[in-house]
C-alpha cells in the first residue's frame, strides 16, 4: 500500500501565509527614514495630480454654470433653490415651445406640398400610375 505525500489543506496554507506576512509587516515598520520620507513625498505628488484633475472638473462645472448664468442673468450663480427651479422650468418650456414650433412648421410644409399637388392640372392619381412614372423616367435624358 502506497502513501501519498502529505498535501497541506488550503486552510493550513492560509495559516502559514498569515504567519509569514505578519513577519513581513514588521519589516515595513523598520524601513529607513530616507525611504519613508521619499514615499511620503511621492504620495503628496500623486495627491496633487488628483487635485489638479478634480479642480479641472470643478472649473468645467463652474464654466457650464456661468454659461447658464449668462443666459438667465448674473444672479443665477447665487440664486436660491426656487430661482434655479424657475430657470430650469423656463428652459424646459422654451424647449417644448421650440419642438412644437418645429412640428407645426413640418405640418405646414406638408400641407403646402399637398395643396400644390392638388392645384396642378395633372390629376394626383397619375403620380401613382406606374405607366406614367416609367414614361417620365424614359423621357428624362439622364436616366439610362
Amino acid at each position: 500500500m502506497t502513501h501519498e505525500p502529505h498535501q497541506p489543506t488550503p486552510a493550513q496554507d492560509d495559516l502559514l501565509a498569515k504567519a509569514m506576512v505578519s513577519a513581513l509587516d514588521q519589516s515595513t515598520g523598520a524601513l529607513p527614514s530616507r525611504i519613508t520620507a521619499r514615499l511620503a513625498q511621492m504620495r503628496e505628488q500623486a495627491l496633487a495630480h488628483q487635485k489638479q484633475w478634480q479642480s479641472a472638473l470643478q472649473l468645467a462645472g463652474q464654466g457650464t454654470h456661468r454659461a447658464i448664468g449668462s443666459l438667465f442673468g448674473d444672479s443665477f450663480g447665487s440664486a436660491t433653490d426656487w430661482r434655479r427651479w424657475a430657470a430650469s422650468l423656463g428652459v424646459l418650456l422654451l424647449t417644448a415651445v421650440f419642438m412644437f414650433w418645429q412640428a407645426q412648421d413640418q405640418v405646414e410644409q406638408l400641407a403646402s406640398e399637398d395643396s400644390a399637388l392638388l392645384s396642378e392640372a395633372l390629376p394626383p392619381n397619375a403620380l401613382l400610375d406606374k405607366g406614367f412614372q416609367s414614361w417620365v423616367s424614359s423621357g428624362t435624358p439622364d436616366v439610362q
Binding site: P8, P10, D13, D14, L16, A17, K18, A19, M20, V21, A23, L24, D25, Q26, S27, T28, G29, A30, L31, P32, I35, T36, R38, L39, A40, M42, R43, Q45, A46, L47, H49, Q50, K51, W53, Q54
Partner: protein
Amino acid sequence: MATPRELDAFLADVERRAYKTAWFAVHNEENALDIVQDAMLKLAESYGDRPAEELPALFQRILQNTIRDFYRRSKVRNLWTTLFSALGGHGETDEESDLDRIERLRDPNSTQQEQPDAALEQRQMLEILENELVKLPARQREAFLMRYWEGLDTAETAEAMGCSQGSVKTHCSRATQALAAALKAKGIQL
C-alpha cells in the same frame, strides 16, 4: 469617487508594502521607489475618479504592470549595455557596484547594529523570507503578496494578474510551501 483624503489614506496604508513588493521584484532601492512613484501617479491621474473600495485592486494591477514595464525596459537596456561593454569592456564596475548595493540593503547589520535576543529569530525569519521571496518565480510572488499581504481575495488577485482563480490558488499554495520549506530548512518552524 475617492476623495483626496481617501486617496491619501489608501496610499499611506499601502506605500511601504508597495515599496517592499517592488524591491522584491527589482532588488534595488532607487528602482523600487521609481516604480512605486509611477504606480501612485498613474492611480491618481487615471483612476482618481473611482470609488475608494476599488483602489486596492486597481493599485496592485498598476504596480504589477509597472514592475513588468521595468523588466522590459531593463531587458532592452541590458542588451545595449552588453553590446557596448563587449565593444568597450567597461561594464564590470557598474555591475559590481549594483551587487554591493544589493548586499548592503540585504545586510540587517547595516541599519541596526544590535538586536535583542528575543527578536533574533524574528529577524532571521524575516531575512530568510525576504531572500526566498526574491528567489520565487515572479507569478508566485505576485500572487502570494497580493493575496496574503495586500489581503485581496482570490477573484481580485486573479483579475489583477490576468489569470484564473485556480491559477491564483496554485501559485499561492506553491509559494507558501516553498517559503515554509526554506524556513524549515533553517530550523524555523511556523
